[in-house]
């Protein structure tokens, strides 16, 4: 009888456990927000809670905080939502920024967030380098002075030697960590060493080397527990998910709707698709997907799509040190042969729109900067007759229906893409199919992975490759993709030089000067660098010239502009950003901490 009772109890326990397992009961899910982190594919349960560590279990917007959160704007990269900073004041020409912290701001362990914490965090940032924190005194846009005004105010001054328009953004995107937890990560004499490193005094080189050598130590630093300024702290990690719980000391805790956040592990897009189809995710950031999968995802109860501007474009980039791509007529001919709409339909039907033309910019940003001038650019509509004229102008010959080099030798056009980017592979295949139809012997060659692809493209191993362009909103960053280091313009110590094709990462191999119709001869690299410090009116003028130069000279042919397509599920939470919201490029964590996300009322 006793044995029977034990068996009955065990059975009851088993069934209770079974009912409570799986996806969790409704009670368990109450207040639980589930998502993935686009920056962290493949969670590492053993990684430190360290925002500087690429695998670290510090999730941006959740338990990792910047001073401010950049708004998604077509032209202005200096608009922010408050993060650790409550407010800020930017001096004219970005000569300095004064950050005000919340007087009652607290870390998750109850300690106050002070200006000392910000200064210490800036020290850590110096070990990692970056726009605002370069050790080289002549580098553009670097902070030269950090002054604590009072316990909750800190002023950061930009070096006047080589000012940059990206200084403020560099400062606002500083991770802020608690000094009382991270104290061991920097040596006691760090600030003295930094001062020496930023000077030209004897010993400066050694000091710079010493600070740079701290980078690995900072990346490996493992705080004993998660002390966060964000709305959550890390409670548990396993290879399948990270569980974060609400930080009661967060300044806006009353408006943080979820009690817990679960960040799920993923290693490929298919996993995200399956999470979405099963309705598990409250939000998933941009994920490439085919049309049929999109259709399936939106059929799930509560699932919806939010779309917005994404300052990223995809282009076919030429290595102009290789023949016949050194000839502008050949590049133009290819532009006239490629049907970009068809390529986009095949490659990125849900996450992209065909580029209207090549300007170096996303079409929305181009319209905002150029206005009517954008419409005046050559759209390179599909025109095989014009393409044939251009190829003939380049001296290419058509023999037995196949285009050959001017000397009659075969012309094999090869497009390289990383194998892991299925949309790029499909796009490249669509381009080669169109070119083969037109009598150009074209093929796609894949490279095993993206890091190797970048390494090989930089080494000049490819004739043509897919290349991300238009990386805004800063116009300087946008045109660096066309007329920056990869095309021969190197900025050293504030001085610009043009290196020969095939040297020092110059794989695009374009000419140093370009003849632009109606403008004359221009040095596009020099103009691109000027964008870093020019006032807005001058920026507009320079962008106009560079867009025309890109359109006429075609160092790349833009294929499609990405659309920031995100997924939300309104079954458990509401208040998600609408289409074209300026928060769409920020994480769910930021939406939550700003109080946008609300629990769905029963």
């Amino acid at each position: 009888m006793k044995r029977l009772a034990v068996v009955a109890v065990l059975l009851a326990l088993t069934s209770a456990t079974a009912c409570g397992g799986g996806g969790g009961s409704a009670a368990d899910r109450e207040g639980l927000y589930t998502t993935i982190d686009a920056l962290k594919p493949g969670l590492d349960a053993n990684a430190p809670i360290n925002p500087y560590n690429p695998k670290g279990n510090a999730f941006l917007g959740y338990n990792a905080q910047w001073l401010g959160w950049t708004k998604n704007d077509l032209t202005d990269s200096d608009q922010f939502y408050p993060g650790v900073a409550e407010s800020w004041k930017i001096a004219p020409h970005q000569s300095s920024i004064t950050i005000n912290l919340r007087p009652n701001g607290k870390w998750s362990d109850g300690a106050p967030i002070t200006a000392e914490d910000v200064k210490f965090s800036i020290g850590l940032a110096y070990t990692q380098g970056g726009t605002a924190y370069a050790l080289d005194p002549s580098a553009a846009g670097t902070a030269s002075d950090i002054k604590i005004v009072n316990e909750h105010t800190i002023k950061i001054t930009q070096s006047a030697k080589n000012p940059s328009n990206s200084f403020v953004q560099g400062v606002m995107q500083t991770f802020i960590v608690p000094e009382h937890v991270w104290a061991g990560a920097l040596p006691a004499d760090f600030w003295a060493k930094l001062k020496l490193a930023q000077s030209t005094a004897p010993g400066a080189d050694a000091a710079r080397a010493e600070i740079t050598s701290l980078a690995d130590k900072v990346i490996a630093f493992a705080p004993p527990k998660d002390v966060s300024a964000g709305p959550f702290t890390l409670a548990r990690m396993n290879p399948g998910e990270a569980l974060l719980v609400k930080n009661k000391n967060f300044y806006n805790a009353a408006n943080v709707a979820p009690d817990k956040v679960k960040i799920l592990n993923y290693t490929g897009n298919e996993q995200i698709w399956n999470y979405l189809i099963s309705g598990q995710l409250d939000n998933a950031p941009f994920t490439a997907l085919p049309a049929d999968v999109m259709e399936r995802i939106v059929q799930t109860s509560g699932n919806g799509v939010v779309q917005g501007y994404s300052p990223v474009g995809n282009a076919l980039a030429f290595n102009q040190s290789k023949k016949p791509y050194d000839n502008v007529h050949v590049r133009r001919a290819l532009a006239y042969l490629i049907d970009r709409k068809q390529v986009t339909k095949v490659a990125s039907p849900e996450g992209g729109v065909a580029a209207l033309t090549t300007s170096g910019m996303h079409q929305k940003a181009a319209e905002a900067w150029l206005g009517a001038r954008f419409a005046a650019l050559n759209p390179y509509r599909v025109d095989p007759a014009q393409a044939a004229k251009e190829l003939e102008a380049a001296g290419m010959r058509k023999i037995d229906g196949k285009w050959t080099m001017p000397d009659g030798t075969p012309w094999k056009l090869t497009i390289n893409v990383p194998a892991s980017f299925s949309d790029w592979v499909a796009g490249a295949k669509a381009v080669t199919s169109q070119l083969n139809d037109a009598g150009i012997d074209a093929q796609v060659v894949t490279t095993a992975d993206y890091p190797l692809y970048l390494q090989e493209i930089a080494a000049g191993k490819y004739d043509i490759g897919f290349w991300l362009v238009a990386l805004g909103p800063s116009p300087y960053n946008i045109f660096q993709r066309l007329y920056g280091a990869s095309n021969g313009w190197q900025l050293f110590g504030g001085r610009l030089k043009h290196v020969a094709p095939g040297k020092e990462g110059n794989w695009m191999g374009g000419p140093e000067t370009i003849e632009v119709k109606g403008v004359g001869k221009v040095d596009p690299g020099e103009l691109a660098v000027k964008l870093n410090s020019a006032p807005e009116a001058e920026q507009k003028k320079i962008i106009g010239i560079l867009a025309e130069a890109a359109n006429q000279d075609l160092p790349v042919i833009q294929m499609w502009d990405y659309v920031n397509t995100q997924f939300v599920n309104t079954t458990r939470f509401t208040g998600f950003p609408p289409n074209n919201s300026d928060t769409l490029r920020l994480t769910s964590g930021v939406w939550i901490q700003l109080g946008l996300i609300k629990r769905k009322q029963a």
């Binding site: 490929g268 897009n269 298919e270 698709w273 399956n274 189809i277 997907l289 085919p290 049309a291 049929d292 999968v293 259709e295 399936r296 068809q342 339909k345 095949v346 893409v417 194998a419 892991s420 299925s422 949309d423 592979v425 499909a426 490249a428 295949k429 669509a430 199919s433 083969n436 139809d437 796609v444 060659v445 894949t446 095993a448 190797l452």
Partner: protein, 309 residues
């Protein structure tokens, strides 16, 4: 009870007259026909392999160099025009499978030839000579067996693009001869103690003659079966590498098709790209089935014990 079939070139068969040879050959093919007829599945195996051979040899000739595309039928469902639907570009999937057969089969064949030639050579020599040669060759074989094939291929693919079937087959063959060498050596060690080899030695025949004319013909069926099995291994290996996306893109490569169906088309998530996934899978399955059925028939043809049952 089956009529006795003498393996061409087998012990005793080497010194027959021309007429007797022709009779032997006739008897052999009659035996083959009988074995195939006994189980229709074996005939099916032969037909399958013949179809694949035709696909490999002439498949690309059935289609234009640039396969037609239909921009309005991306991932189209199976129909009479497209029995396995279309791919991401609107190209007929069946046409892709047929035109892609050549690379896959040629690679498999080259791999098998290299693995068999090397493995048989090493195994025969080591088993017959024994002693120091045996030890040396078997240590080399052990090393070959110990090489982790897939990781090595993944690393190699970062520096070598394997654009031709010969390159791919060469690498797979060089990695895959160890098992054959071990088996052939074991067979050789067993055969070398048999009477007809003793007799050949007693007659003072050369090592070349004994290995080439006495030992090798006795093992030919075993080697042939190993060769067919090596083809399947090579097909799996190369398709696997293409599936992982580490080898160059060829739209009609079966592994690339699998990769694009899963990662580009979401074939494991929705049904649109499922035929695109299933077509190359079916081709691999059929090829393996054909080989297994033919090996089964060969087993009976060359194994007297099975033949008499």
């Amino acid at each position: 009870m089956t009529a006795p079939t003498i393996i061409p070139g087998a012990p005793g068969g080497t010194r027959t007259t021309g007429g007797a040879r022709a009779t032997l050959r006739r008897n052999f093919w009659r035996g083959v026909g009988r074995v195939l007829r006994r189980k229709p599945s074996r005939m099916l195996g032969v037909i399958i392999l013949a179809v694949f051979a035709v696909m490999g040899a002439f498949g690309p000739l059935f289609y234009p160099a640039q396969l037609p595309r239909d921009n309005n039928a991306l991932y189209a469902a199976p129909s009479l025009i497209h029995p396995f639907g279309t791919d991401f570009e609107g190209t007929d999937v069946l046409a892709l499978v047929i035109t892609g057969a050549r690379y896959v089969l040629l690679t498999g064949l080259i791999t098998a030839v290299i693995a068999i030639v090397l493995g048989t050579g090493v195994g025969l020599f080591a088993g017959f000579r024994r002693g120091r040669w045996d030890s040396l060759l078997m240590r080399i074989t052990d090393m070959n067996l110990a090489i982790p094939g897939l990781p090595l291929l993944l690393v190699l693919s970062t520096v070598w693009k394997f654009t031709s079937a010969f390159e791919m087959g060469l690498v797979l063959g060089l990695l895959g001869w160890g098992g054959v060498a071990r088996s052939v050596r074991a067979q050789t060690l067993s055969l070398r103690e048999r009477g007809f080899i003793e007799a050949a030695r007693g007659l003072g025949l050369s090592t070349k003659h004994i290995i080439g004319r006495e030992l090798l013909p006795s093992m030919a069926p075993f080697i042939a079966m190993n060769m067919l099995i090596a083809v399947t291994g090579a097909v799996y290996a190369q398709v696997g590498l293409f599936f992982l996306g580490v080898l160059p893109f060829e739209a009609n490569n079966w592994g690339v098709m699998l990769n694009l169906a899963v990662f580009g088309g979401g074939a494991l998530t929705t049904t649109a790209a499922l035929p695109y996934l299933l077509a190359p899978l079916l081709a691999i399955l059929l090829l393996t089935l054909g080989i297994v059925l033919v090996v089964d028939a060969m087993d009976e043809i060359f194994n007297p014990r099975l033949r008499e049952e």
